[in-house]
Structures are given as C-alpha cells and as structure tokens.
C-alpha cells in the first residue's frame, strides 16, 4: 500500500505544473495567440521566484516566502509574455518566431544573470515547502495518504486554478469573448469586442500561469536550479492538444502523463513492475509513447481554436 501512496504523491508533483502551464496556454490559444514560449516563460518565472527564495528564505516565514515567490514568478512570467504579445498582436509578427526567440532568450538570460549576481549558474535553495501531513485531511484513511501527505500547497493551488479557469472560460462574459477572439476575431470585432485587449489578456494569463508552473515544477524537483525545466513547457503544449483545448480534459491529460511519468521514474521502487524485467529505457519512453498513441486515436476529432496562430488584421477580408 505504501508504494501506491508514494505513486499518488509523486504523480501530483509531476502533473500539477503541467496542468497549470497547459491551462495558461489554453487562455492564450483560446484568445487566438499561439504561445510556444512556455518553456522560456517557465524558466524565467521560476528563476526569479527561486532567486527570491534563495536570497530571502532565511529571513522570513515559510508561507510568506512562498507567497512572495509565487507572485514574483507570475509577474515575471507576464513580463516575458508581454514581449510575445507585443510582437504577435501589435506587430503581427510570426508567432512561432517570437516564441522561439523568447525560449532561447530566457535560458541564456537566466544563466547569464545568475553568473553576474552570484558567480555560479545554479541557484540553490532549501526546500522547506513540503508539508508532511495536512492537519485533519491528512488523517483520513486512504484519501489522506493519497492526497494530503507529503504534499505541496501549490498542488491545491493548481486544482483551484483548474476550477477557476473552467468557470471563467465557460460561465463568464469574459470567457465567451475570449473564446470568440480565437475562433473568429473579425466577427468578435464586429460586435464591439476589443480583440487586441482580449488577446493581450490571454497571452498575459499564459505568462502568469507559465511562470507559476515553472516555480511549482522547480520546488519539488531540485534544490539546485539550473535554468532548465527539462522540456516541461513543450510537454504542457502536448497536454493542451491532448486535452483538446478543454480544461477538464486537460486535467485528465496531465494526470495521465503525470502517472506514466511517475511510473517511469519510480518503477524500480514498485516490486510488481520491477519483477517484470522490462528494460529501464522502455519505462522512460512509456509516457511519450502512450501520449503519441492516445493522440493518434483522439486527434482527428478536435482541431483546436480556428484562429489560433493567425495575427488579427482589422483590414483583412
């Protein structure tokens, strides 16, 4: 049983950042802007958050430090995404190009900056954010150890973001307007919706959630941040497509990926899987092969927002 609980706890660590970042990208693409700079945004947002933690965690209470780091990560993620928004919305630049530029920039800048301020490129910090057991909830049999032990507060933040995003996107006026800009911006404009503003909002939300996702990914996975998030930004993109641009399915897609990833990382600790004698490499490939398989089955049914990736030109016919 303990290995089952361990599996659940590990899955949460893998899947929450993926889900948060994919939800961010959901807002961006629903508004009509393709943002493949997620990798860069995660690194950039996470970098500033972790740098803050590294410098100030000794001098403030844990919760305050985490809260401040979250705010900083989100703000810096937004700052970077602002560059993408400006290029792709105002200047109608190719969205792939500007995202690629930001991905390159972000890692290079973070390493460069880290070297300038602290000589080494790794930002080290102490992981004081893990909660052994949440009072009351952690004592519930079965569910307690599954969801409320060895956990991070950011996990629950991720779930909250999922619920809020789903509500905002489908139950509010803003959500409807945002989606309309990603489907048919001309029509949206004709009924008085400010397409530029909606798209800015979408991209900035992806920046905020991307930065947050970066921080959420880094905290449990390392204590020596090396300005990389190991391709999680691109994986989040996959989760979005896999989740067919819908919040609830993104949740399941991220969960699926997180679970397979956990099995890949932790199979040697599970006697049953270890007993099968399958080589290490196959386990490591498993999440990616599985995703590819699921995509082949599901992809033809869902094309995604019609106008995503197309710059909005008021005068176009």
């Amino acid at each position: 049983m303990s290995s089952f609980y361990f599996l659940c706890q590990q899955t949460m660590i893998f899947f929450v950042p993926l889900m948060i970042v994919a939800l961010g990208e959901l807002f961006s693409e629903r508004s009509g802007v393709l943002n493949i700079a997620l990798e860069g945004i995660m690194v950039f947002g996470g970098f500033w958050g972790i740098l803050f933690v590294s410098k100030f965690q000794a001098s403030m209470p844990v919760w305050l430090c985490l809260a401040a780091a979250i705010v900083i990560s989100m703000a810096m993620g937004m700052l970077l995404s602002l560059l993408h928004a400006f290029a792709s919305i105002n200047l109608k630049a190719d969205q792939t190009i500007s995202s690629t530029a930001l991905n390159t920039f972000s890692t290079a800048f973070c390493i460069f900056f880290a070297r300038v301020v602290q000589e080494v490129e790794q930002v080290s910090f102490k992981n004081t954010f893990r909660i052994d057991k949440i009072p009351l909830l952690g004592d519930i049999p079965v569910i307690g150890p599954m969801l409320f032990q060895n956990a991070y507060i950011t996990t629950y933040l991720g779930v909250a973001i999922l619920l809020v995003s789903s509500y905002v996107l489908y139950k509010t006026r803003f959500g409807l307007r945002l989606r309309s800009c990603g489907e048919n911006p001309q029509a949206a404009d004709s009924v008085g919706i400010d397409v530029y503003r909606m798209r800015y909002t979408g991209v900035l939300l992806s920046g905020a959630l991307g930065g947050l996702g970066g921080l959420v990914y880094i905290i449990p996975s390392t204590t020596m941040f090396n300005s990389t998030v190991a391709g999680y930004g691109f994986l989040a993109l996959t989760v979005l497509v896999f989740g067919q641009w819908k919040p609830s399915r993104i949740f399941f897609a991220a969960l699926f990926f997180g679970l397979t990833k956990t099995i890949a990382a932790a199979y040697s600790g599970i006697p049953f899987l270890l007993g099968l004698g399958i080589p290490d490499t196959i386990y490591k490939m498993l999440p990616y092969i599985a995703t590819l398989l699921v995509l082949t089955i599901t992809s033809s049914r869902s094309p995604g927002p019609a106008a995503a990736g197309v710059p909005y030109d008021k005068g176009a016919r």
Binding site: T100, A101, F105, A108, V116, L237, V241, Y288
Partner: protein
C-alpha cells in the same frame, strides 16, 4: 491590389535588410548588457565578441566552419519542413538518432576505404529520416499535430539513442560513446591545408553541397514546387492533383534525413565529440529553428546564418577569458530572432514606400535576388 498601383518589384532586398537591422539591434543590445554588467571589461568583451572567431587566424575560422556544419544541416531540415508548413521541432530526436546510427555503423562495421565514412553518413541520414517518418505519417493520415508528435519523438529518440550507445558502442571508463576508429572519421578534403590546426573537415563542404541541392530541388523541380504548394495551400494543392499526404511524409523524411546527417557529420569528425548517454535533449537539434527562421528558410541564406551563429558561439567561448558568460551570445541571437520577427513590419513599410514612389515614374527599387 499591387497591380493597380503600377510596377512593384516582386524581388527585393527587404528580407535581407530586415535581417541585417535585426542583427545590428541584437549586437547593440548585447554591447549594452556587457557594458552594464561589467564596465571595466566591457571594451575587451565587445572586441572579443566581434573578432573572437578570428582568434588563431585561419585556425579559428576553420573551427567556425566546423561548428557551423551541424547548424547548417539542422537549419536546412527545419527550413525545408517549414516550406511545407510543417513545424519540425523534432530536431533533437532526429539529430541524435542520426548520430547514433552513423556512429554504430562506423564503429561496428569495418568497411573498406571511403565506404568507411560514406556508409555511416548514409546511415545517419536514414536514421534521421526514419525518426521523422512516423510524425509525418501521423500528420498526413491521422491529422496528429506535428509539433506534438515530433516533441514526443524527441524524447523517445533520446532514450533510444542512449540505450543503443550504452548497449553497443559504450566506453564505460569515460562514460561516453567509443572513439570512432581512424579511417572511419571524416576526411579533411584539403580543409586541413586551408585551415591548419583547426577541426574543419569535409563536413562543411558536404553541408554546403546539401544546401545547394535543397535549393535546386525546392526552386527548380516539380517535386519542390509541390512541396511548397502543399505548404501554401493544402486544399488547393489537392485540387490541382498533388498528393498532399505523400508530400507531407516526404517533406518530413527529407527534413529528418538532413538533420540526421547533421548529427552524423558532427560526431564522425576526429575532433573529439562523443555522445554522453545523459537524459538531456540534443541542443543542436533545436538550433536549426532560429537559423531557418533568421534565413527565411532560404537554403543559401541558411549557410550564412549558420556560419554567423557559429562565429558568435566561438566568440562567446573566448569571452570567458574576460569572465563573461558565453550565454551572452544566445541572448544576442535571441534578440536578433525576436527583431527579425518584425521583418513583416519593415517589409510592409518598405513596400508602402515603394507603392507611393512608383507611380511618379521613379524606378521603384533595384531588382535582384530575393534573399
């Protein structure tokens, strides 16, 4: 629209101009960063950044060409797929699978004479092509998003490559792939005479030939036209009788073959490059994307862009002498790419200027090669 306004040249230099403007802005910003973060060494830093590639004279230049080789190949691959509107982000996977295939053949098969390095190169191309085949098929026949499919293949390819390295061509003492036996490495083809002491070999020449071939295929053959037509408008192509599914698959395979060849050329040199089986995607595979974008996917443009980026990387290496992190080069490159995304704005500005000036009987602009 444009015909109404009189003669507007279809070919002009605005694309090149836009790239040059972007490069100047990138360099200036780089200087600014250097000046801000370490004022006393800034002058030396800037000097090294501009001239670092020439350190050691012809030797330095030869090394630049050596480093440019895989960048040209990945750029060509990504650029070709872009022409068919396919964003092949699977460079890391195709690159490393190609590299491992060629190393495997070079180390395990003892082929005689020039076959000793030619066959491994072909194996590299085959490996890369196979690795791009599956995403191509999935895209063409099942409508799977090509970006996602190639990203997944990157990871699968990386783990597979590491597995093969560990099982078949491993040097456990050094924790990396075995040394390619002499005679199976790439010949120098006179490059060692031209650039004495450098790592340059026939690889650069092969890359240049490949770029020319890609240019000819894309611009002078029916097949190339079909590839581009599928990129421009898939439905119209199908209506015109082009088998668009076949073209998608072929475009991906050629793209993968070019990138795989890049991996082969990089690791078959005698310059001491080895594959370390660590779980990190091959960065060289991603380098193709900015190169192709900066060159607007033009095969010959890609040669120059790749040499430029390689030059900057070599300069960045020497900047460590003044305690500058070589990452400054990537910062500059990213700024250049970002501003080259504004090319459209610059191009439109130039065009509207031409439109305004053309009707007054002025010659609109000099014609010339589109770059």
């Amino acid at each position: 629209m444009k015909r109404l306004h009189g003669p507007v040249p279809r070919r002009n230099y605005t694309g090149l101009l836009a790239s040059l403007v972007a490069i100047v802005i990138g360099l200036l910003l780089g200087f600014l960063v250097l000046a801000l973060c370490n004022p006393p060494q800034a002058a030396n830093g800037i000097k090294t950044l501009m001239l670092g590639g020439f350190t050691g004279g012809m030797k330095g230049l030869g090394n630049v060409l050596y480093y440019a080789t895989p960048i040209i190949m990945t750029g060509l691959g990504v650029g070709l797929a872009f022409q068919t509107s396919l964003f092949n982000i699977g460079g890391p996977g195709q690159f490393i699978v190609g590299a491992v295939c060629s190393l495997f053949v070079a180390i395990r098969f003892n082929l005689p004479g020039p076959l000793g390095w030619i066959v491994p190169l072909l194996a590299g191309m085959l490996g890369g092509a196979l690795w791009a085949l599956l995403p191509g098929l999935l895209r063409a026949h099942l409508g799977v998003n090509i970006v996602i499919a190639t990203i997944m293949m990157n990871y699968i390819g990386m783990y597979l490559a590491n597995h093969i390295v560990k099982q078949a061509i491993y040097d456990p003492l050094k924790g990396q792939s075995q040394v390619v036996p002499a005679g199976h490495t790439l010949p120098y083809a006179g490059m060692d005479k031209l650039f004495p002491g450098s790592m340059a070999n026939i690889g650069f020449l092969i890359a240049v030939v490949m770029a020319v071939i890609v240019y000819i295929v894309l611009n002078k053959t029916t097949f190339g036209f079909e590839l581009k037509a599928c990129g421009k408008n898939r439905d119209a192509s199908r209506y015109a009788g082009i088998n668009e599914k076949r073209n998608i698959v072929l475009s991906m395979m050629i793209s993968g073959a070019l990138i795989g060849l890049g991996g082969a050329l990089m690791y078959l040199s005698s310059a001491g490059k080895y594959i370390k089986p660590v779980d990190v995607l091959a960065a060289e595979g991603f380098n193709g994307i900015p190169v192709a974008l900066l060159a607007s996917n033009h095969p010959v443009g890609i040669i120059f862009t790749a040499v430029f980026i390689a030059y900057m990387q070599v300069s960045g290496f020497y900047m460590q002498t003044y305690r500058f992190s070589p990452e400054i080069v990537n910062i500059i490159i990213s700024v250049i790419i970002y501003f080259s995304a504004f090319a459209l704005v610059i191009r439109n500005a130039v065009r509207s200027f031409q439109l305004r000036s053309a009707p007054q009987g002025k010659p609109a602009a000099k014609g010339g090669k589109k770059v």
